[in-house]
């Protein structure tokens, strides 16, 4: 036992050594090139910054959107119709059957005289043997709401028929269907009587009884043909059953051809091109026959083709329902909303639609009752215009007190004086309707100094009138109000370096009503923009000016970040701008709260301004070298950082500076970091 106990102990040791993965680590210092870049004002979109050819200096142009208005009321509200069809609209086929009653059946004696010539005396027979009549060609059974039975008696006897009293009953229960008399039917003649079948129940097996037959005597000897007699013709017509088991003929059960009005939220639309939208049709039927629906909107065309469709609905099972859903995409359809027949009546918001539902007879006898019906739901949904033409109605949109960011001076703060600038308030309209804007108040707020300057401008005391652009997508008209020192306090407004604009304005469309006579239009992207445009030459003086920016950082591209113990980025700057700068970098967490600052060495580092000549034209760049580091104690902060806040303090000499197109900043960086190498696991 003792040996095995020791063996177990040693086995544990062996397993320990074989299972244990030992890892050795050490620090490795890596120096590697990173990136270099040249930043110049030429990289900025010329829409914002353009250089003049005269002296290659720059002119900055900046537009800031203050307010946007879109027409929210031009949209087709979801609309639809529901139609249901019940048995009352059904009808059965008009049919005829003929039944013969022979001379032999009238009086069996004539059978003995068949083929002989003899005088036929006056006859008066009663309660002749009833004859079975098979009416299965009409239906199995039917309880009728209305309908007619025409009984025609043709006299093929060689004598005149003075009186025939005829009775028609259901064979099953002997209930009366018809009872009538026919008089004075000449030889070869025919008399018809119409019986009203309203509220009568008729089965397929009938019995026809001649209750009384009175004939005159023949005028002389006549050939006796026992096979001839009177022909009984039964014709049913205009049958509208309340309940029937019958073979229903093919027939239209819904037949609509009319205009359908859509609510447009106040606009009166003549034409509407759909950017999106759909038509949903839902059919549900308890009829045990196949149905076909023909659906068409003559008002809706796409590529010259009208929107139409044929939908088949199969017969419902006994005591069941057959359903069918159809979906039509209305995208790119142009819909004429002028009504069913605009040449006759030109209206608005109304489109022409045709709906026909046809019962397709299979020839089978099926049961249909009052509880059976066909229900049709069709809905136009989510209809969004590509454009709409008509009268867009009048609307007044009051903004109330609102704020809009002014990004030109975002992150900037300091003492900056412009030599010259031009500010305009531009109203840019792409809605095809007239309008006007009233600016109640406009102020600029500097979020750093908390200073707010209200804009006082004489041109803004009056309404800004807006006219409609031509009917073309993205076309617009602009109304520009120039603000300068003579008509406003715009200089102090701008030199406050606002980052936010506080405004209150009213936007009104069609203030004068339908002056365009239904020629207003709106595209899906039509809007009214109120823009503040600032233009100034890149010529200014500054003592100290702060730019703030926050950049997101993503370390996931750098594998093994958790092994970095310290890092340093050496930065070489070649600056030919006439401004110096100082950098501060702060690491921020996901809530943009400061975690740690990056160490910049030398700590009082300044990027020296470039060498310029007397007129400020750059002649030689200055070179500055500094390092941005993060020591071992701050590496954890680096790993947690999601943002970097960059604060650049520009320093000038207070004299007016001009920026030329050959000014640039060249940045060249290398990295030097300590990295823990791990081997063994």
């Amino acid at each position: 036992m003792r040996k095995s106990q020791i063996f177990t102990l040693f086995l544990s040791v062996v397993l320990f050594f074989s299972a244990c993965r030992r890892e050795v680590s050490w620090d490795n210092r890596v120096a590697a090139p990173l990136f270099k870049s040249t930043l110049s004002l030429g990289q900025i979109d010329s829409k914002y910054l353009d250089h003049t050819t005269a002296d290659s200096s720059y002119k900055l142009s900046y537009e800031n959107l203050v307010y946007t208005y879109r027409m929210a009321n031009v949209r087709a509200y979801d609309t639809g119709l529901t139609a249901s069809f019940t048995l009352k609209r059904l009808k059965l086929t008009d049919r005829s059957i003929v039944q013969k009653i022979t001379l032999g059946q009238i009086n069996p004696l004539f059978k003995l005289l068949d083929g002989q010539t003899a005088n036929i005396p006056e006859q008066n027979q009663g309660n002749l043997t009833p004859v079975d009549i098979d009416a299965s060609a009409f239906f199995e059974t039917a309880t009728l709401d209305s309908g007619f039975l025409d009984i025609s008696i043709s006299n093929n006897l060689p004598v005149k028929v003075k009186l025939v009293i005829f009775e028609l009953t259901n064979a099953g229960d002997n209930s009366e269907v018809a009872y009538d008399s026919f008089t004075n039917i000449p030889i070869g003649g025919k008399v018809t009587k119409r019986i009203d079948l309203k509220d009568k129940t008729v089965t397929k097996t009938l019995k026809g009884s001649i209750k009384q037959l009175v004939t005159e005597a023949s005028s002389g000897p006549v050939l006796i043909d026992a096979s001839k007699g009177v022909d009984l013709e039964l014709t049913v017509s205009r049958l509208h059953p309340r309940y029937a088991v019958a073979a229903f003929p093919t027939q239209n059960v819904i037949d609509q051809n009319e205009g359908l009005t859509v609510f447009m939220g106040g606009a009166e639309v003549k034409y509407f091109k759909a950017k999106a939208g759909n038509l949903k049709i839902k059919l549900a039927s308890t009829i045990q026959e196949d149905m076909t629906m023909l659906f068409e909107i003559p008002s809706a065309t796409k590529g010259g083709k009208v929107l139409s469709s044929v939908v088949k609905l199969p017969a419902a099972p006994p005591n069941g329902v057959s359903t069918r859903d159809e979906f039509f995409d209305l995208t790119d359809y142009l819909i004429d909303f002028r009504g069913k027949d605009p040449d006759v009546k030109d209206t608005v918001n109304t489109f022409h639609q045709i709906l026909v539902v046809r019962l397709d007879s299979s020839g089978r006898k099926v049961a249909i009752g009052l509880s059976d019906s066909i229900r049709i739901d069709y809905r136009m949904e989510s209809l969004i215009p590509d454009y709409a033409i008509g009268y867009m109605g009048q609307s007044l949109n009051q903004s109330g007190d609102q704020k809009a960011p002014f990004d030109l001076f975002k992150g900037l703060n300091g003492d900056l004086k412009f030599k010259d600038f031009k500010v305009s308030l531009i109203v840019r309209n792409s809605i095809g309707a007239e309008g006007r804007i009233k600016i109640r108040s406009l102020a600029g707020e500097n979020v750093f100094t908390k200073n707010s300057v209200k804009l006082s401008a004489m041109p803004l005391n009056n309404d800004i009138l807006i006219s409609a652009p031509p009917f073309k997508r993205d076309a617009f008209v602009e109304s520009e109000i120039v603000l300068d020192g003579t008509n406003s306090n715009i200089k102090s407004f701008i030199e406050n370096l606002p980052q936010m604009l506080d405004y209150n304005l009213d936007m009104e469309t069609n203030p004068n009503g339908n002056v365009n006579l239904y020629k207003d239009f709106v595209f899906d992207n039509s809007k009214v923009d109120v823009i503040m445009k600032v233009e100034f030459p890149a010529e200014f003086s500054l003592n100290q000016f702060v730019l703030r920016d926050t950049q997101s950082v993503d370390w996931t591209a750098i594998a093994g970040l958790d092994r970095i113990k310290s890092a340093k980025m050496d930065v070489r700057i070649k600056n030919s701008f006439p401004l110096g700068a100082k950098l501060q970098l702060m690491l921020l967490d996901e809530k943009e709260q400061g975690i740690a600052s990056l160490d910049i060495d030398p700590s009082n580092n300044v990027i020296e301004p470039g060498v310029v000549d007397a007129r400020g034209y750059p002649i030689a760049p200055s070179e500055t070298v500094f390092s941005i580091g993060i020591g071992r104690d701050k590496v954890d902060a680096l790993k947690k950082a999601k943002f970097i806040a960059i604060t650049t303090t520009l320093t000038g000499d207070g004299k007016t500076q001009k920026l030329y197109d050959n000014s640039s900043i060249g940045i060249s960086t290398t990295v030097d970091f300590e990295y823990e190498v791990r081997y063994g696991k």
């Binding site: 036992m1 003792r2 040996k3 095995s4 020791i6 063996f7 040693f10 086995l11 040791v13 062996v14 050594f17 074989s18 030992r22 890892e23 050795v24 680590s25 050490w26 620090d27 490795n28 210092r29 890596v30 120096a31 590697a32 090139p33 990173l34 990136f35 270099k36 870049s37 930043l39 990289q43 950049q551 950082v553 993503d554 591209a557 750098i558 050496d570 070489r572 060249s668 960086t669 290398t670 990295v671 030097d672 970091f673 300590e674 990295y675 190498v677 063994g680």
Partner: protein, 491 residues
């Protein structure tokens, strides 16, 4: 004449030691310790009823642990961490740098083994003699082996353990380097070969590879500009690794271990000279089915078998400079991955999967007793160690074929003791030795073997071997140390 011959033999031995001045020796105790002692004659016992034939009783290591580390430049404090894990400080790597030579070497080997069959003592029976004439498996054990060896240039050490950040404006001539690491689990079957007069014992091992790494470089260099705005890389390399493979997917192999004796007749005397013990350990083949191979500047056979390059392919130096980016690219931040991907594609590192067979790292050894002394007069003490009754000087040569290991020569002086008076131990062997070569340059060592009767275990030997005493005492200055310990008993 005999004495002259003996002197010549001694001079030859010392000459060999001088030739191998910068080399270390492997544990000679391994040679001695693993030689089994097989009783060839049973104890006379008659049992009724008679027992069936039994396997021969053997003495073998129930448990054995062995660690050998060494280098011609890296101190033991460094190599110990490479073997056992740990963190190597920048101060440590910096202090090593001043001692680096143009060509350096280092390595370690760790082995732990256990015999699990048979555990219980075999009963000797009369029929043993008949049974004892067959070759049969007499023991089954397991081992875990970890080893690594490397030859490297000074600049390779600087690049790997310091980093190019310290050598801006300079070229690191990394040159040619060779790194090898292997880990295995083995099952060892000990086979007795009673009919052989020469083979003491034979082992067959089945090995499972747990780790294999190989890295070879040729003419590599790295230049870093003074401000690190450009880096120039050149040279060839290839690496092979089983990293990422699951347990059991890394490879299998078979190996053989054989210990033999040879006796030469002493010239002139007609008597047999002292025997020469020699043998080979763990010689075999390892099949590696899936290796991740990365290389630059080498061509390979198109079939994925074979682990040696077919030839060299032309290469050019690759210069890495700063990525030129626009302001927008700078903001987007994707230039970093673009730069990294560009570098990878320009280096044209070829990655592939290959399979192949390698010769397992094997050990060759030879050992001979040079002379021995039996003191005629024994001092009489009541208790304690007493005087050695037998002293012997041995010479051992060992070679392990992994990078960083050179032929080792060990000269040892051992003394055998019996206890005086009542002692709990039955015999004690004490040995001092001087080794040259191996992973190391030189080292001093001590080995002790104490035998005792342990209740429940029988005659049991406890062995401890401390190699590189100077490195144990001064680990930051001296290099090459090791330790072995084991328990041997009758199985």
């Amino acid at each position: 004449m005999a004495n002259r011959i003996l002197r010549y033999k001694l001079l030859l031995c010392f000459f060999l030691m001088l030739v191998n001045l910068a080399k270390a020796s492997e544990d000679t105790a391994q040679v001695m310790g693993s030689l089994p002692i097989i009783e060839s004659k049973p104890v006379g016992v008659v049992l009724s009823p008679p027992l069936p034939p039994a396997k021969p009783t053997i003495y073998e290591d129930l448990f054995r642990y062995q660690l050998v580390t060494g280098s011609n430049v890296l101190p033991f404090s460094f190599m110990g961490k490479m073997a056992f894990g740990g963190y190597i400080t920048p101060a440590a790597t910096e202090s090593i740098e001043s001692h680096l030579k143009t060509q350096n070497r280092a390595g370690y080997m760790q082995s732990v083994g256990l015999v699990f069959y048979p555990l219980m003592h075999r009963f000797n029976a009369e029929q043993y003699k008949a049974a004892g004439k067959k070759a049969e498996i007499v023991s089954i054990g397991i081992r875990n082996i970890q080893m690594a060896g490397l030859t490297f240039s000074g600049d390779a050490f600087r690049l790997v353990f310091r980093g190019n950040g310290y050598y801006k404006g300079k070229t690191l001539d990394v040159g040619s380097n060779n790194f090898f690491a292997l880990g295995m689990n083995t099952v060892d079957f000990g086979v007795s070969v009673p009919k052989s007069k020469r083979i003491e014992k034979l082992y067959f091992s089945i090995a499972q590879v747990t780790q294999y790494n190989l890295l070879k470089t040729q003419d590599m260099s790295l230049y870093t500009s003074p401000i690190a705005d450009s880096v120039v890389i050149n040279g060839r390399f290839y690496s092979q690794s089983t990293a990422g493979l699951g347990f059991g997917q890394k490879g299998l192999g078979v190996m053989i271990t054989m210990d033999r004796t040879m006796r030469l007749s002493s010239s002139g005397s007609g008597r047999l000279a002292k025997p020469i013990y020699y043998g080979v350990r763990d010689l075999g083949l390892l099949f590696l089915p899936t290796l991740s191979v990365d290389s630059r500047g080498y061509s390979w056979d198109e079939n994925t078998g074979g682990l040696k390059p077919a030839g060299e392919s032309p290469i050019k130096s690759v210069t890495v400079t700063q990525a030129v980016v626009s302001a927008r690219d700078l903001q987007l931040g994707n230039w970093f991955t673009t730069q990294r991907d560009t570098l990878n594609s320009r280096l044209r590192v070829n990655s592939q999967k290959r399979s192949g067979t390698i010769i397992s790292p094997f050990t060759l050894y030879a050992q001979k007793e040079l002379f021995s002394i039996r003191p005629k007069e024994q001092t009489d003490t009541k208790k304690g160690l007493g005087q050695a009754f037998y002293q012997v000087m041995d010479l051992n040569f060992t070679y392990l074929n992994i990078p960083g290991y050179v032929l080792s020569t060990t000269l040892s002086w051992g003394s055998y003791y019996r206890p005086k008076g009542e002692q709990k131990w039955t015999s004690f062997y004490s040995e001092y030795y001087l080794g040259l070569g191996g992973f190391d340059t030189w080292n001093l060592g001590y080995k002790g073997l104490l035998r005792s009767n342990i209740i429940g275990m029988g005659q049991t030997s406890f062995m401890l071997d401390l190699r590189g005493l100077e490195a144990w005492l001064f680990p930051k200055r001296q290099h090459g140390a090791g330790i072995s310990f084991g328990v041997r008993c009758k199985l």
